[in-house]
Symmetry: C2
């Protein structure tokens, strides 16, 4: 059996082992990214994220440029969640001889195209041939103005909860890719695009940070239920969201789609705003609608969802990288995708 029951437990253990003040270090393990000293008035944001074949993508369903795009998007989104402007990336690629030249070039094209769009420069990395699965580790460095970074821990009871766009479309896209059906309709194309070529919300992140609008932020990479619980835990609060406000594929019904609640990899920002600043939150930003979905409450009230006037505990049922197998979150996600057909 695995020593750590969850990724959170593992991260806490590691954070404890690496605790302590260090010169030039502003924030270590435990948030979306770490912060360290930059040029005068700035801090550097740094994050590293793995994308592994069979977990984050599959050769059968994901074109190589999408694998590259998604690997970089994961890290860009972490930088966005800190309010950082991404600047540099290092890509480490463990590949194997069964992978064609064409695949690797298309993969890198996907990386470089997204990097170019965000003015990110590739400054390093590593490559190795193994005989196993493809694994990509993407390190991204970003900059943020000193003391403006958005942390997970700044939410307080009474703050409003926002999400930077629609949720569940990436999970829906994965479902469509796997089933191979209904690919031609406009909503299907939107879902496929959301899954294969997600847009990390870097500009929204810097906007919220620079103007000190948000009190806390996290990106939704592992599902709203999981990432909201993480934000609440870091802030030592509870949270309440309204089921009929969750903007997902099921927004027209009064109960949110499980895809929107638990589906991961949408890379929308989840952020909180003190009531005094709510008027500074725009209705739309960079083409996406911003939704107010709930409010932070006292820790003792827990993390809840209100459906048809009934309040229920919202457990983290998104993706946890330490629990993969038949009885796990991944299996749940797959089941969830199936029931949603």
């Amino acid at each position: 059996m695995h020593p750590f029951r969850s990724e959170a437990e593992f991260t806490r253990w590691l954070a404890k082992k690496s605790a302590g003040k260090r010169r030039g270090l502003r924030l270590g393990i435990g948030d979306d990214a770490a912060l360290f000293e930059g040029p005068p008035g700035f801090e550097w944001v740094v994050t590293a994220d793995l994308s592994v074949e069979g977990i984050h993508f599959s050769m059968a369903t994901h074109p190589p440029d999408s694998v590259g795009h998604r690997a970089l998007a994961r890290s860009l989104s972490d930088v966005a969640a800190m309010g950082g402007k991404p600047r540099f990336a290092l890509v480490s690629l463990a590949t194997s001889r069964r992978i064609s030249s064409r695949w690797i070039e298309a993969f890198l094209k996907g990386v470089l195209r997204l990097a170019g769009r965000y003015h990110v420069t590739l400054i390093g990395g590593d490559t190795t041939l193994n005989a196993g699965k493809i694994a990509v580790d993407m390190t991204v460095l970003g900059e943020v103005r000193r003391d403006r970074a958005l942390l997970r821990s700044g939410a307080r009871p009474g703050h409003h909860i926002f999400v930077g766009g629609k949720l569940g479309y990436s999970a829906l896209g994965l479902q469509l890719l796997r089933s191979g059906s209904h690919r031609k309709s406009a909503p299907a194309r939107e879902a496929l695009r959301a899954h294969l070529y997600p847009k990390p919300q870097c500009q929204l992140g810097t906007f919220l940070a620079e103007r000190r609008i948000a009190s806390a932020a996290i990106d939704i990479s592992d599902g709203l239920s999981t990432d909201l619980n993480r934000l609440a835990e870091a802030s030592k609060t509870g949270a309440r969201i309204w089921g009929d406000r969750i903007p997902g594929p099921g927004i027209d019904s009064s109960v949110p789609s499980p895809l929107a609640l638990h589906g991961g990899e949408d890379y929308k920002l989840l952020f909180t705003v003190a009531p005094a600043h709510t008027n500074l939150v725009p209705d739309r930003f960079d083409g996406a609608v911003i939704y107010r979905i709930g409010e932070i409450q006292d820790r003792r009230s827990g993390v809840e969802i209100v459906n048809n006037g009934r309040s229920m505990r919202l457990k983290p049922e998104g993706y946890d990288h330490f629990q993969i197998g038949l009885k796990t979150e991944r299996a749940k996600a797959v089941r969830l995708l199936k029931t949603n057909k």
Copy 2:
């Protein structure tokens, strides 16, 4: 077939794709590490290095704390080769369910113990369970005083070539591990230690950089023959080394051991010094003898080794991560290990 015949070719392709001046970026792809803007008077050094099961280590021969130690040492050594003082690390670990809790904890213990010795703080990373091989990506950030970083490209004809300690012991240690023989003698223990728990030369690197002693530097990770060729190419020069000066397991003979010439993972610094500064190079540093092994020459003279008065071209016969298989460098290394028994 693979698109790029060598790692160097791949790196050049990627460097070209990522070229161009960027605000805050001092050095991108192509050296041991990249450099970007730090606090006043400083620059940050950053590198990422992969360690993959079956290539860089094997579960049968490498204890888990050694896997962690070696993964971090690879990156620390790159920072050392830039003259940087390592400060922060991010560790990304793709593991699998067949790996026990004990293995992961011992792996991290190896990482944290070496990190502690160099005052390096773990500030992030990622973890994921896959069903394949173990892959570790280690990102290390270090600091260096502005304009003092050691590049590969600063060597000029007439500069002396030094190496920061004995070579070939890591390859010898691997050979011993595989054969399981002669483990009790003092030289065998030294070789095993050199392979399992290498000491990156960070203090030597900062010493050479701070005092502006070295004109160029690289760390010997893939074998002297390969890394000397890399340094010469980056400096647009040739080089000549003397076979009887190469400090390896065969130093008592007049011809150097192939282990010392081509064996990788010794993580000693290879550096060049202008004649006017040679007197500033100490005979020993941090317990290791420093050897003068040759001199930089004109590019047209190529990279040569002089054995018994005869000059021969020194081809890169060390490790290239894009050439793994029966006809490759790795096979050569294995053959080399066998002939050296």
